[in-house]
């Protein structure tokens, strides 16, 4: 499965101690300039993570507006047009501003440390790809105060609602998405170049920690589909401003073509947001089960199969758009197939736990919640794959429940697990145990109160993206809103934990967790600014 990757040549001689690959000494800038101009992977990683956390709170604030309006039937707080802007901005910011940059931040910090590289392969590009993001999202957020309001057509921006019928700010939305897309692409190139070329001598592909593996595959997905997104939004731009008719039936175009192109990007995008999460969980569970990951090779193959299958399933988002029968059948079967490699992953995690020696430190709590709750999201995904049943599920809260289960207790919990896991390495301190446990339990309760009732609301017939609803959905929505407020508020605890951990706390040794095995734990905690300038010699994993 690894054979589609270019051959690697790992040099056996070691690098001179002082030569970072950047070929330049880091200028000793201070204050703001230090962060603006840094080319250090750890500092850039921190920037990504801080940016992602602030976007998580902005997107979360929008979610709170949505949940407050939906707390009871009727229109109380916002107008329907503003409600639509909130759902759109919530989706865009969480996907492109919170989840994706968080994974890139973790990759920046941890990929070089886990493969024994001194830095990312392209440090200056790394700086540039980060700083594109604040610009992109400043533009996106600015659309909120533009005449006609922010984008209001959903994060999937289906044409012609997003072209002919869109608010004037759509052009800014397109520009901002282009910038965010370029940032992701540059980040992906950097990660691929780092993983393929800068591994420590002796580390073969099949010796890499799974976080590195999943990120490598994710980066290839990004390279493959971000240009398609760029193409789609460029076509939108042309339709809006230059009179073309890619998606306009009046000019011989086709609105359904938009959906095909969008989901050709969009489905792999979904996996871009979950594959690195698989990787994080796959390094955390063995650590706290004090037992090697079960089925390392099959984990790699399963990840790669999921990535490949992700290109063949896009039209399962379009079962009711009027596809011919053969297409429906093809996409139903291919979508169901994804359950196989995903199942393999879950079984491997469970078997890793089996007969281990398990302890429940905060990273492990989040990783275990990930396995259970992500699997619930997987079950609803399997149900959605059944095309005839999807005629009932499609565009209801059942779908909203499904993708929030895989994204919040899925991707977001995995990110938090990763943060808790690596905080001792980053700061030299353990996160405060009691507070972390409170954060975990409140999050788990909040997340389930929020998203579980959505299944019922959807099955009972509540469509998504509506600002007001019929009375039979009132109870579900009230519980969901209360759960949402709880979940939102408990994330403030996370900030407290992180800030306290940066400032002080129980000192962590180099190997902060008893069962941790990967290369980063051979470095002192906190990790110094420059690490592995002399590549470590890695002994191949014995099997």
């Amino acid at each position: 499965m690894a054979s589609h990757l270019p051959p690697t040549s790992t040099p056996q001689h070691s690098q001179p101690a002082s030569a970072g690959l950047a070929g330049e000494a880091h200028a000793p800038y201070r204050g703001l300039r230090r962060w603006l101009l840094t080319t250090n992977h750890k500092e850039i990683g921190t920037l990504y993570l801080v940016f992602s956390l602030s976007m998580f709170f902005i997107g979360g604030l929008f979610a709170m507006v949505i949940r407050a309006e939906l707390f009871q039937p009727g229109l109380q707080l916002v107008r329907p047009e503003f409600f639509n802007q909130m759902t759109t901005m919530h989706g865009l910011i969480m996907v492109f501003g919170a989840v994706m940059p968080a994974f890139v931040g973790l990759a920046n910090w941890m990929v070089p440390l886990q493969i024994g590289a001194p830095d990312m392969a392209l440090p200056r590009l790394n700086n540039f790809s980060f700083w594109l993001l604040p610009v992109a999202f400043a533009i996106l957020l600015a659309t909120l105060v533009m005449p006609g309001g922010a984008p209001d057509f959903g994060w999937t921006f289906y044409a012609p609602l997003s072209t002919t019928y869109a608010p004037p700010s759509t052009t800014f939305f397109i520009f901002s998405l282009h910038l965010a897309g370029i940032s992701s692409i540059l980040g992906a190139i950097n990660i691929i170049a780092t993983i393929l070329n800068l591994r420590a001598p002796g580390m073969r592909m099949m010796d890499m920690p799974l976080f590195v593996w999943t990120w490598l595959i994710t980066a290839f997905l990004l390279i493959a589909v971000m240009p398609v997104l760029a193409g789609v939004i460029t076509m939108m731009l042309l339709d809006i401003n230059f009179g073309t008719s890619f998606f306009n039936a009046a000019g011989g175009g086709d609105p359904v073509l938009f959906q095909h192109l969008f989901w050709f990007f969009g489905h792999p995008e979904v996996y871009i947001m979950i594959l690195p999460a698989f990787g994080i969980v796959s390094v955390i569970i063995p650590t706290f089960a004090r037992k090697r990951l079960f089925g390392y090779a099959s984990m790699v193959y399963a990840t790669a199969s999921i990535a490949i299958l992700s290109f063949l399933v896009w039209a399962h988002h379009m079962f009711i758009v009027g596809l011919p029968l053969v297409a429906e059948l093809f996409f139903m079967y291919s979508t169901m197939l994804i359950a196989v490699p995903t199942g393999v992953k879950v079984f491997n995690w469970v078997t890793t736990l089996f007969r281990g020696s398990i302890s429940f430190e905060p990273p492990m709590l989040f990783a275990l919640a990930f396995v259970v709750l992500f699997t619930i999201g997987g079950f609803s995904g399997l149900m959605l794959a059944i095309a005839p049943a999807d005629f009932q599920y499609h565009d209801t809260y059942f779908v909203v429940a499904h993708f929030h289960y895989v994204l919040v207790p899925g991707a977001v919990f995995a990110i938090m697990a990763g943060v808790y896991y690596w905080l001792p390495k980053w700061t030299g301190h353990y996160p405060h145990l009691r507070l972390s446990q409170w954060h975990f339990w409140l999050s788990v309760i909040g997340v389930n109160l929020t998203f579980f009732p959505m299944h019922f609301a959807g099955l009972a017939g509540m469509p998504r993206r509506i600002p007001d609803y019929a009375l039979q959905f009132a109870d579900f929505n009230m519980v969901t809103s209360l759960g949402g407020f709880l979940f939102g508020a408990s994330q403030l605890l996370f900030v407290v934990v992180v800030v306290r951990c940066v400032r002080g706390g129980e000192r962590a040794p180099a190997k902060a967790w008893e069962g941790a095995e990967d290369l980063e734990w051979s470095l002192p905690s906190p990790a110094p600014l420059h690490t592995f300038e002399t590549p470590p010699q890695v002994r191949p994993r014995e099997s």
Binding site: P227, G243, T244, G322
Partner: protein, 197 residues
């Protein structure tokens, strides 16, 4: 440095990787645009979306299958901002597959000034669109009518005898769309259609 930086094999590896990924990147961007004509071609070949051929086709001489009768319905629709009407007296026809039939449509511009429009066809069920052959038609053709002007346009069509047996009703819907002056792509298409017609 023990070795000149440029010859560092890792640096060369990075360069090679970057060159390859950028090539893939460019390829995928072009591919996204290539998907547009590919999708159109795919629709024409498979009848996906009920898209029909935009130009006159030739008659298929395979005999008339008198054992089957299929109902063909004609629906005409206008669109906002266009003071035109498109009408036909023939709301539906019973035809045998293989038969050649003719239906007349009338365009009228009820507006106070000249304007341009085109009729965009769509066929349901979509699998029938492959078997509905239009021997002469006005589909996709841009029409220009002066204020109050009328235009009669015939549609000559044939349902090919290999129409799937479970299709017993075929609906052909024409939607009239205004042709905007700025519709660059639309105009280009219209010229192309005109040449062929």
């Amino acid at each position: 440095m023990a070795e000149p930086f440029e010859r560092d094999p890792r640096r060369q590896g990075v360069r090679r990787t970057v060159a390859r990924t950028v090539a893939v990147l460019g390829g995928m961007f072009v591919f996204a645009f290539a998907l547009v004509p590919l999708y159109d071609a795919f629709c024409q070949v498979t009848g996906l979306n009920g898209k029909t051929a935009g130009q006159a086709q030739s008659l298929v001489h395979a005999g008339v299958d008198t054992s089957r009768t299929v109902t063909v319905q004609f629906v005409t629709r206008g669109s906002p901002g266009l003071p035109w009407r498109l009408e036909t007296d023939t709301r539906q026809l019973r035809v045998h597959p293989g038969e050649r039939r003719e239906v007349h449509f009338r365009f009228r511009n009820q507006g106070a000034e000249a304007s341009r429009a085109r009729a965009v066809p769509s066929v349901s069920p979509s699998e029938a669109s492959l078997h509905l052959r239009k021997l002469s038609c006005f589909c996709f053709q841009e029409q220009r009518l002066a204020a109050g002007e009328r235009l009669e346009a015939p549609l000559v069509f044939q349902l090919t005898p290999d129409l799937p047996a479970d299709v017993r009703t075929v609906t052909l819907v024409y939607t009239l769309y205004p042709v905007a002056a700025s519709g660059a792509r639309a105009e280009r298409d219209a010229v192309g259609e005109g040449d062929r017609a």
